[in-house]
Amino acid sequence: MFDLLRTRARQGHRTISFPHGEPPELPGRFRGHPIIDQSRCAEGCTQCADACPTGAISSLPVLEVDLGKCLFCAECATACPTGALSYGGDYRLAAGTREDLRVTQEQGVRLARALDAKSRRLFGRSLKFRQVSAGGCNGCESEVNVLSTVVWDLGRFGVQIVASPRHADGLIVTGPVTENMRLALQQTYEAVAPPKLVVAVGACAVAGGPYIDHPEVHNGADAVVPVDLYVPGCPPHPLTILDGLLRLLGRIEASKTER
């Protein structure tokens, strides 16, 4: 008993203050939103695009990175002879449409907008998700799971991951959606009562990840179910997922939406 109390005292309070306070410090080598300086690009150079394992980059005529396909491996930055492309520390990456994830020097990710007033009235203070892993590698699954630990404490926003689609307002989908999980994902989606939300977490669920264009997969969740929030990353940092969910719920003020 005394051990329990002593340990409790020593473990302390661990929940982050974000979004009211500052976000937790990310490691110095964290690879977030790309930083593009097209003025450094050599005429006709395609080395970044050639190095990309998933075809996320098109370098001509405008250097554009599709963060939906991006694994954030930075092979492109390594390949670039002039340093036109690098990955910065900005963790805010979640968007409402696939198109919003295409970034250029001028246009960063268009971050997810808040749901309309009616949906916010429904989900704003209580949003329950069922998680479906459809070919995920347990990377994204782990980072979704982490949101329920004391550090992130998703419950304080009324967001919770529940055991059954019948108890849920939506799905969090991870994985490229294997053919072998297609039916299960579809049926789980159908089991959620409308109106419902779908969040695609990770490069696989957004666009297929490393498995893009494999005949065994469907290149992401939106091939099977409509998606309301796309969270890029391989896997996304928990902060990126949380930021996306809170933006969807309108719980991050507009001032923090400006990039």
């Binding site: 080598r29 190095a51 998933t54 954030f72 930075a74 092979e75 070919g135 590698c137 347990n138």
Partner: protein
């Protein structure tokens, strides 16, 4: 002449010309496998590879005592070969896989069911193609128990927790489980098929996501294969960083597992503390390479991210702090009667069963099997820095939890030693191009157990076959065994005590 004696011998993490592999007659292969296993060797790989004139079988045995692997191949068996499963249960899933991938039937196999519901890999016109027709996942002829008050419970593929999909079919009598059958394959995304023709720019990313929680383990095994095929090895400093990352991966997962086990028996303090501490260990990996799962850290020739002195000092300090908190959180378990009552005697896998099923990793060590690739088949930094093997003998949930705790302590010491004595020199060196017509085997002790990769290259040095064997491939059967005679309500606890990979199995 005995087939066993003819097997080619090599160190794990090295490569041989394919011409050096003996092409065994069937009787010789049978002798090699059965004789090898009776002498205490383990089957680490047994697979088919397409070749002109029909698919051939390849057998790789691990000789732990001799710190070697023994490799052999056969002539093409045509459409059928005699199943050895009745005499050697540890090949049971390998034979099913051969049947599924290459359409070669192991005649007399007692349990010939799909493994991944993958369309058979077929070679047509020199290219591997996937056929359209495949079976629906989870639709198999499940083993059934019939009788008064016997009922069947089906769970999955979508589970209650945030975990990967699999289907579990229980035959129950009241609360008691008579039999559990596990049907996987939902995560099948074509990893081995896609690796053929590599290495290319996507290969390493497949290996980093074979089992995303074992990024370092699988990626290290892959890099060792590539290095040995090119006749080179990682730099000392690169190898040390890989070793640190491998043990940090083990720490994060073991601490997380102990927390999850506490959660499964309703002991919330440890569940809550370990949930946070797992993240602290992941953050150490992120400090090194920017990714909590070690993406991008391990690359052929060494590692991609270096540490300076300030980073080493900061890592050591954070490691110590996380370990102190982990010790306090985890030791609560052993002193809580309500936890011990649930852990002890639950989900027992006796030593002889573990031996017969060919278990590896903490699950094997918890059943008293003294095997650990870091000691038995050391590669990289483990050739110079040793880590003691942790063993328990009761084979129950408690043993699997306690082995993890012992390994946590030893990994912390090991990482500390390496941080204090990081070899100097380059982080990375260019790896010579992959040798043609060679075979390479690597064995890496990941946190779940032994990861085995086997590569066969063609004359041009492309992968003709790349076999990935996650430790879960050997261990899933132990979960089914552990449930026998248990209460069905203990399934989450038993399952978590193994915490096996679905995607690593399904590929």
């Amino acid at each position: 002449m005995s087939g066993f004696g003819r097997l080619a011998r090599a160190k794990a993490g090295s490569s041989l010309p394919r011409a050096a592999l003996p092409c065994l007659e069937w009787a010789e292969l049978e002798d090699a496998l059965l004789c090898g296993v009776s002498l205490g060797l383990r089957v680490v790989a047994y697979f088919a590879a397409e070749e002109p004139g029909g698919a051939k079988l390849y057998l790789v045995l691990a000789d732990d005592a001799g710190s070697e692997v023994a490799i052999g191949t056969t002539r093409s068996p045509g459409t059928e070969f005699p199943s050895l499963t009745p005499r050697c249960p540890q090949v049971h899933l390998f034979e099913r896989e051969i049947a599924e991938q290459y359409g070669i039937r192991p005649a007399g196999h007692p349990w010939l069911k799909p493994v991944r519901f993958a369309p058979a890999l077929l070679r047509r016109n020199g290219a591997l193609q996937v056929t359209a027709e495949s079976l629906a996942p989870g639709v198999i002829d499940f083993y059934r128990v019939e009788g008064e008050e016997v009922h069947e419970v089906g769970v999955g593929p979508v589970h209650a927790g945030v975990i990967e999909p699999g289907h579990f079919r229980f035959q129950c009598h009241g609360e008691e489980v008579f039999h559990l059958e596990i049907s996987l394959g939902y995560q099948h995304r074509g990893v081995e098929r896609a690796l053929i023709g590599g290495p290319d720019r996507r290969s390493v990313h497949y290996l980093e996501t074979v089992a995303g929680d074992t990024t370092i383990g699988h990626c290290t095994a892959y890099c060792e294969v590539l290095e040995s095929l090119g006749g080179s090895q990682a730099t000392a400093r690169g190898a040390a960083l890989r070793g640190i990352a491998l043990e940090l991966e083990r720490l994060a997962n073991h601490v997380g597992d102990l927390g999850a086990l506490a959660g499964d028996v309703g002991f919330l303090p440890t569940a809550s503390y370990c949930g946070r501490l797992r993240g602290d260990f992941l953050n150490l990996t992120a400090e090194i390479c920017g990714s909590r799962f070690g993406r991008g850290l391990v690359r052929p020739g060494g590692a991609q991210f270096d540490l300076d002195e300030a980073m080493v000092a900061a890592l050591q300090e954070r490691l110590d702090r996380a370990f102190t908190d982990s010790r306090a959180a985890i030791e609560l378990l052993w002193g809580a009667p309500s936890v011990m009552e649930r852990f002890e005697g639950t989900g027992v896998v006796p030593r002889e069963v573990a031996l017969e099923l060919g278990l590896n990793g903490p699950a094997a060590r918890a059943s008293g099997l003294d095997r650990d690739a870091r000691r038995d088949h050391p590669s990289g930094i483990f050739r110079f820095h040793h880590i003691p093997v942790a063993i328990a003998d009761s084979g129950d949930v408690f043993a699997r939890a306690f082995v993890r705790w012992l390994e946590i302590q030893r990994s912390v010491t090991f990482v500390g030693e390496l941080l204090a004595a990081l070899p100097r020199g380059p982080l990375w060196r260019e790896v010579a191009s992959v040798g043609g017509s060679r075979v390479a085997v690597s064995l890496v002790e990941g946190w779940r157990g032994e990861i085995c990769h086997v590569a066969l290259t063609d004359a041009a040095g492309r992968f003709e076959r790349y076999k990935v064997i996650d430790p879960s491939f050997h261990n899933w059967n132990a979960v089914a065994y552990a449930l026998r005679g248990q209460q069905i309500s203990d399934f989450p606890l038993c399952n978590k005590s193994f915490n096996l990979s679905y995607c690593g199995h399904d590929l």
